[in-house]
């Protein structure tokens, strides 16, 4: 039979146990609003009984462990979904920016409207080819259109650059997270090898892992010793045991950051292509796939405009023939065939076997001579110069920057007609636009300097006569708006652009709705996790009462045992 002191012992144990349980409850209440906190529970256990007659006698209570109420699989699932959440968050943000660039609803400022204005200006000019206001309007509308295309292209490039610098910033954050996770791995292991539970450290680590998943695609699994191993794309470890590996961003030949994984010896491996989700994945996707695609479409539109307008314009004549003219596009090498891919001409591929006419006039406007210059796939700038120079009354020279200058001799003037070879357009002789894509499209300086050089009519290919009232080129250029010029001759310029706007709209819509969907998933999982791990104040208040009463009762036990001792002592 046990002595009275065993009651004191039981009372003491009960006091300690319930005090600890109260501590745990207080900790829970204190952390009711802590992000990622899992509620803890003191697991009470009877202490081993005394094996004495008349039977095992209880010895009281002890805290077996402080348990963290947590569902490991939910944690894994949340980590996975956070990767998608991060991806759609950033894609949605970036598409919102892209969409702003393509917002066409405001009157007068959208590209769609500016294109219509451009074609209408050509119609007005066709209606009055000698009108100076009409000529100025074509110039102004062209400049506005070109500026808008440039602005769109450079905005897309800016978003691309911003995504790129975000990648660099993101990698810094990622390295910080993996380092902290490795440190927590160590702390948890230190505590748990002593048979204890590292509850709060585990919560912190889980938080960091979820955060890391927000940044990039990872696979995280817990080893038997409680440490977590984290792998990223391509199976490269970011955290293992107490070690973390850094990522680094280095500019590659394209001028953008490549994501590299650094091993313990400092060797770097490019893992850019295996980062597919999280914020980092979104930035890479935008930078390397989505934005280049949009840029190439806007460039295609600009190139199409340049090509088609120049093709017609180069065969026309303005209010008077030229006294001197320099080609707009330079070749790489004057001895290289013009139609060769290495010619340096942006529209080299348009050149085909054919010819164009040059008409030469004297200072009274009378025809001096005409020549038909033949072009084929062997024509070089050198051979073209020779052929043009051989025409009576004009001189052709090649400049140091590999452009061609044609000058009329002693007051002579000259004009072009009937180009079946596209050589004039490809060289930029008598062209309307300069540039080759949306970033550099502009009005040709020859026209900027004198709007009378805007070609509206043509030279009669059999007599060399021309009249300023001829509006056939202006009409043909204006009519380009309804020609199927884009996407291998299936849509008009306007339809091409409209489709692009629709495409941007649906991509933005997709990103927004995927983000909403993903947010719902993560929210539901969080709620689900919260229903397991979250602190309920009602519950804690009830526990508080429970443990408080038990503590009071245990204290009574000690008092009662003391009274028993007093009774005994009084017997003596």
């Amino acid at each position: 039979m046990a002595g009275i002191d065993s009651i004191i012992q039981i009372g003491k144990r009960a006091l300690v146990a319930n005090k600890t349980a109260l501590d745990v409850t207080s900790h829970n209440i204190a952390n009711v609003n802590t992000e990622g906190y899992s509620r803890q529970r003191a697991v009470l256990n009877p202490t081993p009984p005394l094996d004495v007659q008349p039977g095992p006698i209880g010895t009281g209570v002890e805290i077996k462990m402080i348990e963290r109420v947590y569902d490991r699989f939910l944690g894994l699932q949340i980590t996975n979904e956070k990767q998608n959440l991060g991806r759609w968050e950033e894609l949605s943000k970036l598409y919102d920016r892209v969409e702003t660039t393509f917002t066409e609803t405001s009157e007068a400022s959208g590209l769609s409207q500016l294109m219509v204005d451009f074609w209408n200006a050509w119609y007005d000019l066709a209606n009055n080819p000698t009108g100076q206001p009409e000529r100025s309007t074509v110039r102004i509308k062209t400049e506005t259109l070109a500026n808008n295309l440039k602005q769109k292209a450079s905005e897309l490039q800016q978003i691309q650059k911003d995504s790129d610098s975000s990648i660099n910033v993101g990698i810094g954050e990622i390295n910080l997270l993996t380092k902290q996770i490795a440190i927590l791995n160590e702390k948890i292991s230190q505590i748990e090898t002593r048979g204890l539970q590292a509850n709060d450290y585990r919560d912190q680590r889980q938080n960091l892992i979820e955060e890391l998943g927000h940044w990039l695609n990872i696979t995280a699994f817990e080893n038997e010793d409680g440490k977590v191993t984290i792998l990223t794309g391509g199976g490269r470890p970011l955290v293992d045991n107490m070690t973390s590996w850094n990522l680094t961003a280095e500019k590659d030949s394209s001028g953008f950051y490549a994501v590299k994984w650094v091993d313990e010896k400092g060797n770097k491996t490019d893992i850019t292509s295996s980062i597919t989700s999280g914020k980092l994945g979104a930035w890479l996707e935008m930078r390397d796939t989505n934005l280049p695609d949009l840029l190439s479409q806007i460039n295609e539109l600009a190139a199409g405009l340049i090509k088609e307008v120049n093709r017609l314009h180069s065969q026309g004549i303005g209010l008077s023939p030229f006294t001197s003219l320099t080609s707009d596009y330079a070749v790489a090498d004057p001895a290289q065939a013009l139609s060769d891919i290495n010619s340096g001409l942006p529209f080299y591929s348009e050149i085909s076997t054919g010819s164009f006419q040059i008409w030469v006039y004297d200072n009274t406007g009378a025809v001096v001579t005409s020549a038909t210059i033949a072009i084929d796939n062997t024509t070089t700038l050198n051979s073209l110069r020779t052929a043009v120079d051989a025409v009576t009354g004009i001189t052709a020279t090649i400049n140091s920057n590999n452009t061609l200058t044609i000058t009329g001799d002693s007051g002579n003037t000259f004009a072009f007609a009937n180009d079946t070879s596209n050589a004039l357009m490809a060289l930029g002789l008598n062209t309307f636009f300069t540039g080759e894509n949306a970033l550099d499209i502009s009005l040709n300086s020859v026209i900027e300097g004198d709007t009378n050089n805007i070609a509206t009519g043509v030279v009669d290919p059999s007599t060399g006569n021309y009249g300023v009232g001829n509006n056939s080129i202006a009409l043909s250029i204006a009519a380009l708006q309804s020609k199927l010029t884009m996407s291998t001759d299936t849509v008009t310029f306007a339809e091409f652009y409209t489709n692009l706007v629709g495409y941007v709209g649906s991509k933005t819509q997709e990103a927004t709705s995927n983000l909403e969907h993903q947010e719902t998933i993560v929210n539901q999982l969080s709620n689900y996790q919260d229903s397991i791990s979250g602190v309920s104040l009602d519950e804690e208040m009830a526990n508080l009462m429970l443990f408080q009463q038990a503590y009071d009762a245990a204290a009574k036990l000690v008092t009662m045992a003391d009274e028993l001792f007093q009774t005994l002592l009084e017997m003596v």
């Binding site: 009711v32 609003n33 969409e99 702003t100 393509f102 917002t103 066409e104 609803t105 959208g110 769609s112 409207q113 219509v116 204005d117 074609w119 209408n120 119609y123 007005d124 066709a126 209606n127 009055n128 080819p129 000698t130 009108g131 009519g457 006569n465 021309y466 009249g467 300023v468 009232g469 001829n470 509006n471 009409l475 009519a479 708006q481 309804s482 306007a494 409209t498 489709n499 706007v501 629709g502 495409y503 941007v504 709209g505 649906s506 933005t508 819509q509 927004t512 947010e519 969080s526 709620n527 919260d530 229903s531 979250g534 602190v535 309920s536 104040l537 009602d538 208040m541 009830a542 009462m545």
Partner: protein
Amino acid sequence: MRITSRILINNFIQGFTKNQTQIAKIQESIASGKRINRPSDDPVGITQVLSYKRTLESLGQYKRNIDQGKNWLNITSTALTNLKNLVVRANEIAIAQASSTADDFSRDVAAQEIQVIFDQVAQLANTKLDNRYIFGGYKTNTAPFDSSGAYSGDDGEIKVEISPDVSVVVNISGNRVFKGSGGGKDIFTILSDLKTALENDNSTGIAAQLGELNSALEQVIREISYAGAKINQLETTRERTLDFETEFTLLLSGTEDMDMAKAITELNAKQLAYEASLAAAKRVILQSLVDFLR
């Protein structure tokens, strides 16, 4: 399911954010009057809206082109009607002076009047519209006829596009109507021959020009009716363009504009849901066991 206050608050925040977003969206639509405020509001709709707007702009331009063409043809028609009157007058003079009652004096006076008619015809042949000579073909910047009636213009056809891929020639060549190129009569030659015959008191010569003048009159009248027919064509096209404009304006409005009654009803419903969620949150979230202890 075990419910914690965090779950209640999360749900509340999620719900009311959603409500607010929707309310903001409806409000934007009501403020702008447009259902589509950015491409993602309706990616298919925006392509239609842009296409309708583009068509409307083009129709406006075609109207301008047609008006421009009508200006040309109207002034041409007026000039040619004046020409007709002058030829008729010359014909009357020729008839009067061809008769035996005419004498040397009356023919001299008539010769002077024919000279005046000749000068007037030359003036008509150099008619201008907005500083452009309408009878000179492409050579709109120089007078196509000199005082002797010699032509220095060309046969250029000035076209105006009146609907997609349809263009009409709006000028009439002075060479054809005044000089009779292509098998017609040269009005200047007829008038100067008539004048010479009158001056020379040559009755046969005068009579010889009568037939010529009649042919010339037919030639001018033919061109007047040609111009009239073109004007009619342009007017019909203009009316059709206006019809299209009305149709596309309706299409645009149907695709782009907000149905106000529907939008406001929707706004009221969303607002009600929003207020209800606030009221519910106030009752549920703010209460816990703490309120009931002690």
